[in-house]
Structures are given as C-alpha cells and as structure tokens.
C-alpha cells in the first residue's frame, strides 16, 4: 500500500539541500529561514527541523486544492512523499519501519519540536497535513495508556499497512462534556466486551483501520475506558461527513453494533484505575492541543503570505507580522513549558485560545485588505479562510478553554 521509498526521496532531497551543512543553513542561503526573533531563539536541532518541515510544507501545498476538491482520492495522498515521511517521522523511533533523516528526529523528541514543525507544515497546507496517515491522537493515547503488546499491535499495524488511524471520543449527543459519553462496553459472556454506540466528527471515521475509542463500563467518570479497535470488525461501520473546510481530515461517523473487544485491547489495564481513561491521556491531550494551535498559526501565516504577495508594501503588513510573531513566541514558550512541566494544562489552553482566534481574525483582515472578489478569485486563500475555522472545534472549544483559564475567585476574609 505504501509507495516504494518516498521517504528516502524526500529525506534525500533535503539532505542534498543541506549539503553545505544542515537544512537550516541551506534554507537560509535561499533567504527563507532568516526568521524572527522567536525562530532565532530555537535550539539548533529544532531550527533544522523547522527548515526541513518548510520544505515538506511546500510539497503539501501542491496538493492543497486537489485534496479540498476530492478528499476521498487516496491515490493522490499515497503518492505524496512528504506525507509518507511525516507518517514515519510521527511514529516513535522504535516502531519506525525505516530510519528518518537526522533533522527530522527532533519531531518526536519534544513538544517544542512538534509545535515548531506543525507551524511550518500547516503554513504549507493544513488540509493536506490532516490527511496524513499518522499515529496522531490515537498514537499519543496508545503511548500514554498502552502496555508493550498493545503498542506493538497499534504501531505494527501502522508500519505494515500505512493505514489511517482514528480517535473516537465525540458522540452525536456529547462533545465538550466527554465524561457524559454513552458508548458502552458490555461484558460478553463468551469473554471480553461488546461495544455499542456511535461516535461522530471523528477524523478518518470511514478509512481508518486502527485506532482508539472511548467507552464506558459503568456509570461513573472513572468507568470510562480507552480501547484499541481494528478494522474490519463485525458490527463496526463508518461513513464520512461533508465538511466546510480542512477536508483532508475526513471526519465522519462510526457506529458500533456489538463490536467484539477482547480484554487485552482495553488500554491501561496495567495502570491504577484513576489513570486508565480520560485522565490517563491528559498529558497527550495537552501536546495535541498545542499542535492544533500551531496549525492554526501556520494557516494564519499562509494567509498573510498570500496577501503580502498580492499587495506588497501595504502599511498593515508590519502589524500583522508583529501579531503572528508574538503568537509564535507564545507557542514556543508554552511548548517549552509543557516539556518542563507536562502536567500543567493551562498554558496550552491560553495558547490555543489565542492562536485560533488570531487565525480567524487574520482571514477577515485578508478579506478587507484585498480588492473585491479576491476570495472567489484566489481559491487557496478562500480555502484557508474555511480551513482556519476548524481549529476552534478541535481539542477544546473557545468557551471550554475560557472556563479552564479563568481565575478562581480570590478568598476574602469575612468583613474585609
């Protein structure tokens, strides 16, 4: 299923580009990586990663309109060397089917690496980036909750087939309030469990072959479990939903009608009860939230780049550049904080709140800055104005994040 050796192609090309040293040096030589103060503050390994991802982003861009038009066309995606490399780069080192170029290793080494990389990749095109058959959120969950055999099962399938993954949490009746989810795991008298329920708005719901689904074994929040599911399985069906933007993500609905789940596919069995379900995956959710924030900023950059190309020299550009640079610094600082204190969840909420909002604002600014009919006349720009809205709904909506970062009441002494 996977193309011959596209990773080697991409890696090889990048390595050639960096013949005089690292990809960062090569990109700087072409005048593209001089960057901002925020970018210059990055450790050298992350700077190399950024430069490499900028090249991959350019390749993603070439597919942007085609994926938006026909997200179901998998041949296109399978031929894309950048996507194949990203799939392997996003896999933990010990499960990679083949080595990745040295500059790409930082991607899984730190949250800062992931964030810096995602900005550049999404600046290429976030719709195509989200079409990548990578471990994604399911992978993070398996890393956090899976035992050795479960990790082997998940990553083994990925390495063998290059399949898409899914992460099923949201349901038709419950999204933000995940603790209220209704999908059930009933005891199967023959052993293991039977899953019943429906998930909706799940990326790769139809085409994903392996992933994680959350369901409950009892009424309390502590009775929520994450389980590994593979396709095909009896009673497991899925269908895509029409999307306004970010159409490469192919979100859809998954239905479970007595789907057998063996006992050994329940994640976190080796962990204490309090670390098995939603709470066990909290660290992973924080990193993913920042990745989403980074993608929002990447799209904002893409929009700004295009406006600047269409209307160079306008007075508004400096201010927009300043806003985007500040957001980038916020993301870098937050990612470094997450690397240092992975259990502190608030900084990532602040960063995601700001960048998703800024990205939507940047799209509106573009609309005002350009002459009439610029959106209909520039399909990429118009697409990004739709794509940029998706991040609001991924990994915490504005209201939920606002509630998370709002200060607790100050304690007042009586009579004061």
């Amino acid at each position: 299923m996977t193309p011959a050796t596209p990773a080697a192609d991409v890696g090889g090309r990048t390595a050639t580009a960096g013949a005089a040293g690292s990809p960062a040096v090569a990109a700087a030589a072409t005048g593209r990586a001089t960057g901002t103060a925020a970018a210059r503050s990055l450790p050298p390994a992350v700077r190399d990663l950024v430069a490499g991802c900028r090249e991959l982003g350019a390749e993603l861009r070439t597919l942007a309109l085609a994926v938006d038009r026909a997200p179901e066309d998998h041949r296109l995606l399978r031929r894309c060397g950048a996507l194949e490399l990203l799939r392997v780069v996003g896999t933990p080192e010990r499960f990679r089917p083949h080595p990745v170029p040295a500059w790409a290793r930082e991607f899984t080494a730190s949250c800062l690496g992931r964030v810096a990389a995602n900005i550049e990749l999404a600046r290429g095109d976030a719709g195509v980036l989200n079409a990548c058959a990578a471990p994604s959120l399911a992978g993070f969950t398996v890393d956090a909750l899976g035992d050795e055999r479960q990790q082997e099962l998940f990553y083994g399938e990925l390495a063998r087939t290059g399949c898409w993954t899914f992460f099923g949490m949201t349901e038709p009746e419950h999204g933000s309030d995940a603790t209220a989810l209704r999908t059930r795991l009933d005891r199967d008298p023959a052993g293991g469990f039977l899953m019943h329920g429906t998930k909706r708005y799940v990326a790769n719901a139809e085409r994903g072959s392996v992933g994680v689904v959350f369901a409950r074994v009892g009424p309390t929040p502590l009775s929520i479990r994450a389980v590994l599911l593979k396709r095909p399985a009896p009673g497991f069906t899925g269908s895509p939903l029409e999307m306004l933007g970010l159409r490469g993500a192919r979100i859809g609905e998954m239905r479970f009608d007595a789907v057998p789940v063996p006992e050994e596919h329940v994640l976190g069995r080796h962990l204490p009860l309090s670390r098995r379900g939603l709470w066990g995956a909290n660290r992973a959710f924080t990193v993913v939230r920042l990745q989403i924030a980074a993608q929002a900023l990447g799209v904002a950059h893409a929009i700004h780049d295009q406006v600047r190309a269409l209307r160079p020299g306008r007075p508004g550009h400096d201010l927009v550049t300043a806003r985007l640079d500040a957001a980038r610094q916020l993301l870098y600082d937050t990612a470094a904080e997450v690397d240092a204190r992975p259990d502190d969840r608030e900084p990532a909420c602040v960063a995601k709140l700001h960048t998703t909002h800024l990205a939507v604002r940047t799209a509106r600014w573009a609309e005002r800055e350009l002459p009439p009919s610029a959106l209909a006349g520039h399909p990429l720009l118009e697409k990004w104005c739709r794509d940029v809205c998706a991040f609001e709904f991924m990994d915490g909506t504005t209201n939920i994040l606002r509630l998370a970062v709002a200060p607790a009441p100050a304690s007042h002494r009586e009579g004061s």
């Binding site: 009746e173 933000s176 909706r200 708005y201 939903l241 306004l244 306008r314 508004g316 009439p372 009919s373």
Partner: protein, 202 residues
C-alpha cells in the same frame, strides 16, 4: 428603501441566500460587479458565462461568474444600494443561524444541564441580538454610505462566526447548517466595493 430592505431580510431568513440574492441584485448582472468575479443566483447565470467552480456555493444555488472582458461596473451609488440590500439578506440568514443555535443548544446537555443555560452561551446570544438590531438600523439610516454598509457586512461576518461556534462540530460538518453564511460571505466579497483600508484592525 426601508421596505426593500425588510423584504430582502425576509427573503434571506425565510428562503435562504439564493432566493434573497435575486432581489438584492435587482437586475444587476455580472458586468456590474466591482471586482473580476460576480456572484449570481445559479438560476440567473447567462448561457456561456465563464464560471469559477465552487461546490459549496453550487449547493446553495449560487454561482461565481467571471466578469466579461468589456464591461461597465455599476455606478458607485448603485453598488452601495446593492450592497445594502445584500447586507439585509445576510441579516436574515444570520437571524436564521441564531435561531438554529438556540434550538441546538436547548436540546444539548453538558455538565448536566442544557447548554443554553450556560452564561457564556447566553452572553453570545445576547450580543448577537444587539448586533442584529444595530445592523438593521444602520442599513436603514446609513444605507447610502459605502463605509457604513461595508462595516455592516464585516460585523455580520464576525457575528456569523460567533454563532457558528455555538453549533460545535455540527455546524462545521454534516448537514450544512453553516453553508449559507459561509457562501454569503463570499458573495458579499464579490459585491461590496470597498477601497482597502490598509488598517489591520480589528
């Protein structure tokens, strides 16, 4: 003017974008557009027109048409009046979206109670109501002032987004609850003749 605006708002609210676009254009064709592309109801596209394909717009019954090479853009006053009528249509669509949000949130439980009772949600809906009243009055008293009409369009775009957020994933994917307002923004982008301000606000 006032009655025409009210009729456009009613059409947008009751019948949707394509139905409202007819009265808003009031006979104007692609050649009247201020930019290189015009937005027309698909039913009114002349044969052999050069189209810019847009599947979402097509599903709303709207087509983007390249302006003929030799053409005469409508006079500024006519374009402003057109943009004001189009804003009234959008007002109708936004009102419809607000009703949809109330309906959706009334039936959706989060943290043990309907989301419509959450104060952050109510705040957004209250602000939307105020914005709609102001937009309607602005069109009525300043519908001949290009900057005022353009500002109404900008505020409607923002308001649509605030309401869209309330629909959660159900607005962005699935039955197309947001498609009308997304396309209405593109339509406005074709017909609102504004000199780019150069401001980077808000």
């Amino acid at each position: 003017m006032r009655e025409t605006l009210a009729e456009c708002e009613r059409a947008g609210h009751r019948d949707g974008l394509a139905a409202g676009l007819g009265p808003a254009l009031d006979g104007a064709g692609a050649d009247a557009a201020p930019g290189s592309v015009a937005a027309l109801p698909s039913a009114a596209v002349p044969p052999r027109a050069s189209l810019v394909p847009h599947p979402l717009a097509a599903r709303e019954g709207v087509s983007f048409v390249r302006r003929p090479a030799r053409h005469r853009t409508a006079a500024p006053e006519r374009l402003t009046a057109l943009a004001a009528r189009l804003a009234a249509v959008r007002l109708g669509l936004t009102r419809r979206l607000a009703e949809r949000a109330v309906d959706h949130l009334s039936g959706r439980i989060g943290g043990g109670e309907p989301l419509i009772r959450r104060q952050l949600v109510l705040g957004t809906l209250a602000d939307a109501r105020v914005e709609l009243e102001v937009a309607r009055r602005t069109l009525r008293v300043a519908g001949t002032l290009p900057a005022a009409v353009a500002e109404v369009h900008d505020r409607l775009t923002e308001l649509d987004w605030e309401l869209a957020k309330l629909l959660g994933g159900s607005g962005y994917a699935g039955d197309g609850a947001l498609r009308g307002v997304v396309v209405s923004r593109l339509v406005a982008n074709c017909w609102v003749a504004r000199e780019a301000t150069g401001e980077a606000v808000p």
